[in-house]
C-alpha cells in the first residue's frame, strides 16, 4: 500500500451533482476551504453526465437541462478543491468534526483521508426498479442509466424501445430518445398523471416545469407514442435478449409490443449509506424512500452534518440546486435569501404531489414467478425468499439477507433492498418498519475497500 493522502478542510461535500456543486460553490464563496468529492471522472452527477468534448458545444448537448446553470457552477468551482474519482467508503464522526475516507483513482486506488469541520452529503439516488418476469434479460435497463448513457456517450439503448414504471423520468427519457431518432413504441405509467388535476396548486410557481411537462407530452403525441396511464410491466420476453414486453393493467388487460430494449424506472432510492452510519434522524418520504430529516438550512440532527438534494427527499435537480445553495449559506452563517426558501417550499410541495401521483403499482410481488431473480449479485430467486419467510420465520429484510444471501453481494442490497423488503412484507404479511429499512441501508464500507487500505487505518487511527 502506498502513502495515505491526508488533508484538512472546513467542509467536505460528497457528491458533485447539482446540489453538491451548488453547496461547494456557495460555501467557498463564503470564504471556506472546501473539497468536492465525486466518484466519477467529471463533475455534474448523473443529471449533467456529459462528454467533456461537448462541454462548450451547446448543439452537442440538446438532451441536457439547465446546461447554462451547470456551466456557471462549474466555472465557480475554481475556488473549490475538486476531487473527482474519489469514492467515499466511510464517513466517521470525530471529536471535532468528521473524517472522510475515500479511494482515489479508477484502477490503482490510493487511500485518502480527509478531515473536515462540516460535511455535506449530496450523494443523490440510484434507480429503483421493481422486478418482473424477465427483468434480468439483456436489453432491460434502468431508465436513468440509459439516460446517462445517452447523455454521456450519445449511445442509444436500442432501436425499438418501450418504457415502463412510474414517474416523470419516463417522459424525460422518452423525449430524449425520440429526439435522438429512436423508435419509442409505448410509455407505460403505472400511476395516474390525470390526478395532477386534483392538485392544481402544485404547479403554481413552477411555470417552467409545467411548460417542460407539456412539451414532453407534445413530443410523444407528435410521434404518436401511446402514453399508457395505469399500465405496468407484466413481463419481458426473450431468450438471449429482450424481444418483447407485455404490459398489463391492474384489472388484467394486457398489451404486447416487440422491442429490442425495455427501459424501466420505478422512481429513485436515495443513497443514504454514508449518512446512516452517523444515525441522523430519518423519515419515510411520500414515495416510500427513507430520507434524512433536515431543517431549512439543510442541517441534519447531527451537528455539522448537512444533507442536500435527493437524500432529503426525491424532488429533482432544481430543488437540489436550491438546497445546495441554502446549505452553502448555512455553513458560512449567511442568511438564505427568503425568495430561495419560498422556491424550496414550492418545489417540495410539487414533490409531494408527484409522489402521490406516480405510485408504483406495488402488485409486482404477486406477479413475480418463483423462478425469477430478486437479487442479481447473489442470484437469489423470489421463491427462495418466499420459502425463507414461510419455513424459516423470516419477517424482515435482515432475516432474508442472512437466510438467503439476498443483498449480500457486491451491491450490498442497494439494487434489490427495496424489492426484497416488499417481497418479505407481502409474504410474511408484516408491514416493514422504518427501523428495518434504516438498518438495512447502513453499510460499512459504503463501497468495497481493499484490506490493504483498511490496514493502514491501524497506524493512523488516532492522528487527530
Amino acid at each position: 500500500m502506498g502513502e495515505v493522502e491526508r488533508a484538512t478542510y472546513d467542509v467536505v461535500v460528497i457528491g458533485a451533482g447539482p446540489s453538491g456543486m451548488a453547496s461547494a460553490v456557495e460555501a467557498a464563496a463564503g470564504g471556506l476551504r472546501v473539497a468536492l468529492l465525486d466518484q466519477f471522472a467529471r463533475v455534474g452527477g448523473s443529471y449533467w453526465r456529459h462528454n467533456p468534448e461537448h462541454l462548450d458545444d451547446l448543439a452537442a448537448v440538446p438532451l441536457h437541462h439547465d446546461w447554462a446553470t451547470f456551466r456557471r457552477l462549474r466555472t465557480r468551482l475554481q475556488t473549490v478543491d475538486v476531487r473527482t474519482e474519489h469514492t467515499v467508503w466511510a464517513l466517521e464522526r470525530r471529536e471535532l468534526g468528521f473524517r472522510v475516507r475515500a479511494l482515489r483513482g479508477e484502477v490503482e486506488r490510493a487511500a485518502v483521508v480527509l478531515d473536515a469541520t462540516s460535511v455535506v452529503v449530496a450523494t443523490g439516488t440510484h434507480d429503483r426498479v421493481e422486478p418482473f418476469e424477465g427483468w434480468t434479460l439483456p436489453g432491460v435497463l434502468g431508465a436513468g442509466g440509459a439516460q446517462a448513457l445517452l447523455k454521456g456517450s450519445l449511445v442509444a439503448p436500442g432501436d425499438r424501445v418501450a418504457l415502463g414504471g412510474t414517474g416523470p423520468l419516463l417522459l424525460v427519457v422518452a423525449d430524449g430518445l425520440l429526439r435522438s431518432g429512436v423508435d419509442v413504441v409505448a410509455v407505460a405509467e403505472s400511476g395516474h398523471p390525470t390526478k395532477y388535476g386534483l392538485h392544481p396548486t402544485a404547479w403554481s410557481g413552477l411555470a417552467s416545469r409545467s411548460r417542460e411537462a407539456a412539451a414532453y407530452v407534445a413530443t410523444l403525441a407528435q410521434h404518436r407514442v401511446p402514453y399508457l396511464a395505469g399500465w405496468g410491466i407484466r413481463a419481458a420476453h426473450g431468450t438471449d435478449r429482450v424481444d418483447g414486453v407485455t404490459l398489463a393493467t391492474r384489472r388484467g388487460r394486457t398489451k404486447s409490443y416487440d422491442v429490442d430494449a425495455l427501459l424501466v424506472s420505478h422512481g429513485f432510492t436515495p443513497q443514504l449509506e454514508l449518512l446512516l452510519a452517523l444515525e441522523p434522524e430519518t423519515r419515510v418520504d411520500g414515495d416510500g424512500s427513507v430520507v434524512v430529516i433536515v431543517d431549512d438550512q439543510q442541517r441534519t440532527s447531527v451537528p455539522g452534518l448537512l444533507a442536500t438534494g435527493e437524500v432529503t427527499g426525491v424532488g429533482g435537480a432544481s430543488l437540489a440546486i436550491l438546497e445546495g445553495y441554502a446549505a452553502g449559506r448555512a455553513l458560512t452563517d449567511r442568511p438564505v435569501d427568503p425568495a430561495v426558501l419560498r422556491r424550496i417550499s414550492v418545489h417540495r410541495r410539487f414533490a409531494r404531489t408527484m409522489h402521490a401521483v406516480h405510485v408504483a403499482r406495488g402488485d409486482w410481488v404477486r406477479d413475480l414467478p418463483d423462478h425469477e431473480l430478486v437479487c442479481r449479485c447473489e442470484e437469489v430467486t423470489a421463491g427462495e425468499v418466499r420459502t425463507a419467510c414461510r419455513d424459516l420465520g423470516v419477517d424482515d429484510v435482515r432475516g432474508a439477507k442472512l437466510m438467503t444471501r439476498a443483498g449480500m453481494g457486491l451491491c450490498q442490497g442497494r439494487m434489490c433492498g427495496r424489492a426484497v423488503t416488499d417481497l418479505v412484507a407481502e409474504t410474511s404479511r408484516r408491514e416493514p418498519d422504518v427501523a428495518d429499512s434504516v438498518r438495512a441501508g447502513a453499510r460499512l464500507p459504503a463501497t468495497p475497500v481493499p484490506l490493504s487500505v483498511l490496514a493502514t487505518e491501524d497506524l493512523t487511527g488516532d492522528a487527530t
Binding site: 466517521e92 425463507a388 420465520g393 423470516v394 437466510m403 457486491l410 468495497p448 484490506l451 490493504s452 487505518e457
Partner: protein, 421 residues
C-alpha cells in the same frame, strides 16, 4: 439502537391469566394450585431467545415431548447468532468443564449434520493454529500435549506440512497445530432450521415478543412469562437470551453476571478457494481466555461456502456500543494480511459487529437456578455459543425432565456466582 431499547422494560401487562400446565413434568414438579384454563395457551417451557441456543433448546425440548414456546424481542436470529462466524471449536479449549461441553457438542453437531438440510453448511474443515515464533510454537505444542489426553486430536505441523494444508500462508509462519475436529456451520440457517424442526414438533415461535417479567406462584415457582403481548403460562423458563441473558435473569429473579464483549468481522468479496481451514494466529487462544477490558485482536481467517473470506476476531469490553471502530477494523485487516499476504488486494465488502455474552470466569451459565424454581439458564457462552448450543440444549432438557445429565453441570451452575450474583 434497538438493542438498547430492549433493556427498558415495556409496559407491564395487566392481562389477567389463567394457567394450565400440561406435560410430563406435572406429577413430579407441580406444586402450585392448578387454575382452570380459560383458553390461555400454556406450555411446559417458555424459551426466551430465538438464537442458536434458544433454537437448540426448543428443538431438544420438543423432541423430548414437552410443549414449548419460544419468544424473542426481535425477529428470529437477530442477536449474536446473526453476527458470528459459526465456530464449532475444540482447539481453543483447555482441559476442563468447557472442553467436556465442547466435545459433547461436537458429537451432537455431527448427529445434527445428518438431520438438518445441507443448506446449514456444516463443514468439518478443521482448524489450524499457527505462529511465527519459536517461543510461540513451544506454547502451542505444550497446549496440544495437554489437550491430547482429553479426546482432542492435535497434530503438530511444520512449515512444509503447512504449505500443503494452506498454500497461501505467509512464509514467516514457522509451524502450528492442526485440529481436525474444528468445524464450521452457517449459524443463522442452523438456528432457523432448528426452529423450523421445533415447530414441526409442535413448538410455537413468537418473534418480536418482549419478555417484561415473570409470574410466580405463591411458593415462588415460575408459572408464567409476562411479555408485551400478554402472559404466557408455563412451568419452566429457559433463559437463552445470549448477551441479554443477564437482563432476562434479573427480570426472572435469578440474576447472573452476563456482559457484552464486542467483536467485529470483515467479509471479503468472493474468491476462488484461498483459505481451506479455519486459521488462527496463536494469540487467539490467549485472547479468548483473557480478562483484559482493552482491545484484543488476533487473526481468525476462513472461507465460507459462498467464497467470501471471514476475518476476525476482536474483543472489547465497551458495553453495547455499536459504533464502528476503524482502529479495530484496521488491526483485523493488518493481521489477516500478515497471515495471508495474498489478501492485501482483496476487497472487504462488508463488516459487522456483535456482542459476545461473557461471564467473569468465561464459562457459560447452564442449569436450574436454585433461587427460582422453574428458571433454567442457558446463556453466557461468550464466543462459543454456536459450537456449544447442542450440548447446552441437551443438558437443559435433561435438567428439566429430571434425567441424569450426560456430563456434570456443576461448573456451569448459576450458584457459582453466590447468592448476590
Amino acid at each position: 439502537m434497538s438493542l438498547v431499547l430492549w433493556l427498558l422494560p415495556g409496559p407491564r401487562s395487566s392481562h389477567s391469566t389463567s394457567y394450565i400446565c400440561p406435560g410430563a413434568w406435572r406429577a413430579r414438579t407441580w406444586q402450585g394450585p392448578p387454575v382452570a384454563s380459560v383458553g390461555a395457551p400454556a406450555y411446559d417451557v417458555v424459551v426466551v431467545g430465538a438464537g442458536i441456543v434458544g433454537a437448540s433448546c426448543a428443538h431438544r425440548l420438543a423432541e423430548a415431548g414437552l410443549s414449548v414456546c419460544i419468544v424473542d424481542r426481535g425477529p428470529v436470529v437477530s442477536g449474536t447468532t446473526g453476527a458470528g462466524e459459526g465456530n464449532i471449536l475444540v482447539s481453543d479449549k483447555e482441559p476442563g468443564p468447557e472442553l467436556d461441553l465442547a466435545l459433547l457438542s461436537a458429537r451432537l453437531w455431527h448427529e445434527l449434520a445428518g438431520t438438518l438440510p445441507d443448506a446449514v453448511e456444516i463443514d468439518a474443515k478443521g482448524g489450524i493454529i499457527v505462529t511465527s515464533s519459536e517461543a510461540g510454537l513451544a506454547v502451542l505444542v505444550a497446549a496440544a500435549e495437554r489437550q491430547r489426553g482429553h479426546g482432542i486430536v492435535a497434530d503438530v505441523v511444520d512449515r512444509e506440512q503447512l504449505a500443503d494444508l494452506e498454500p497461501h500462508l505467509s512464509p514467516v509462519v514457522l509451524g502450528g497445530v492442526s485440529y481436525p475436529q474444528d468445524m464450521q456451520v452457517q449459524p443463522m440457517l442452523a438456528a432457523a432450521h432448528l426452529l423450523r424442526a421445533a415447530r414441526a414438533l409442535g413448538a410455537d415461535v413468537k418473534p418480536r415478543t418482549r419478555m417484561v417479567g415473570v409470574e410466580r406462584a405463591r411458593d415462588g415457582a415460575v408459572r408464567g412469562v409476562v411479555t408485551d403481548a400478554g402472559t404466557i403460562a408455563c412451568r419452566h423458563l429457559v433463559n437463552a437470551a445470549g448477551t441479554w441473558g443477564g437482563e432476562v435473569a434479573s427480570l426472572a429473579g435469578g440474576p447472573v453476571p452476563v456482559l457484552p464483549r464486542r467483536g467485529f468481522i470483515l467479509v471479503t468479496e468472493p474468491l476462488p478457494p484461498t483459505v481451506h481451514h479455519k486459521v488462527y494466529g496463536a494469540d487467539y487462544v490467549a485472547n479468548v481466555a483473557s480478562d483484559s477490558a482493552g482491545l484484543e485482536t488476533s487473526p481468525v481467517v476462513e472461507s465460507t461456502r459462498a467464497g467470501t473470506v471471514l476475518i476476525g476476531a476482536s474483543r472489547e469490553r465497551v458495553g453495547f456500543d455499536r459504533t464502528t471502530s476503524y482502529d479495530v477494523l484496521g488491526r483485523l485487516a493488518a493481521q489477516a494480511i500478515a497471515l495471508f499476504p495474498v489478501l492485501a488486494g482483496v476487497r472487504v465488502q462488508r463488516t459487522y459487529g456483535g456482542f459476545r455474552p461473557y461471564c467473569p470466569d468465561h464459562l457459560p451459565v447452564i442449569g436450574p437456578d436454585p433461587r427460582v424454581d422453574g428458571l433454567v439458564h442457558a446463556c453466557g457462552h461468550e464466543g462459543a455459543g454456536i459450537g456449544l448450543a447442542p450440548a447446552t440444549a441437551l443438558l437443559v432438557t435433561q435438567a428439566i425432565t429430571g434425567e441424569a445429565t450426560t456430563i456434570p453441570i456443576g461448573a456451569f451452575s448459576p450458584s457459582r456466582f453466590g447468592e448476590a450474583a
